[in-house]
Amino acid sequence: MKNRIKVLRAERDWSQAELAERINIARQSLNAIENGKADPSLPLGMRIAKVFGVRVEDVFGEA
């Protein structure tokens, strides 16, 4: 699934490790989600959107 995590992360100047810690998952897992190799569950997707302060559809959708 395409997503804008990398863009949103860059806007906030967060590293993968920093974001992974905020949403409480492994950095490798975040990397897999970011590159579209793994799809997060709805609760995790909502958690990611929440730390960025945006809606879920602003994170996951056409990049």
């Binding site: 998952i25 492994a26 490798q28 897992s29 989600i33």
Partner: protein, 143 residues
């Protein structure tokens, strides 16, 4: 249960520590054939419980990967069990051969056959899981 790398290392590390203690116990204390299957059985139960606990310390993406590894790894293990069964039954009852790990006095006790049978089913699947995980890691690296 939430993601906790520390919790996973503690649970996983305890399993390896128990394995080392069990191996040392069998090697040095040389327990009698009457109690070895019980100690072995107890060790398997505790190790399985701790491994299960360690699994729930993973995040959902890691849990999905482990499940996928078991999905592909279990058939590899079962196929290996089948080949081993065929090989061992070619000339003698295979459970007797496997149960010889406890001692060489046949016939073995029913519980020894039970533990051996369980190991025969579980261990190849566990090894198959690690084989699948290795292939998945290699595939990910080359992608």
């Amino acid at each position: 249960m939430t993601y906790s790398p520390k919790g996973r290392w503690i649970a996983g590390g305890t399993v390896f520590l128990l394995m080392a203690i069990f191996a040392l116990y069998v090697r040095t204390a040389r327990p009698s054939p009457d109690i070895l299957p019980w100690v072995g059985g107890a060790f398997i139960v505790v190790a399985f419980a701790l491994s299960f606990r360690a699994y729930f310390y993973l995040d959902e993406i890691q849990q999905g990967e482990r499940m996928r590894a078991f999905y592909y790894g279990a058939p590899i293990g079962i196929a290996f069990s089948g080949l081993l069964t065929f090989y061992l039954t070619a000339n003698q009852p295979f459970l007797d051969v496997l149960a010889d790990i406890f001692h060489h006095h046949r016939p073995h006790k029913p519980f020894e056959y039970f533990v051996t049978g369980m190991m025969f089913i579980m261990l190849p699947q566990l090894v198959g899981n690690f084989v699948a995980r290795t292939f998945m890691a290699l595939a990910k690296r080359s992608a």
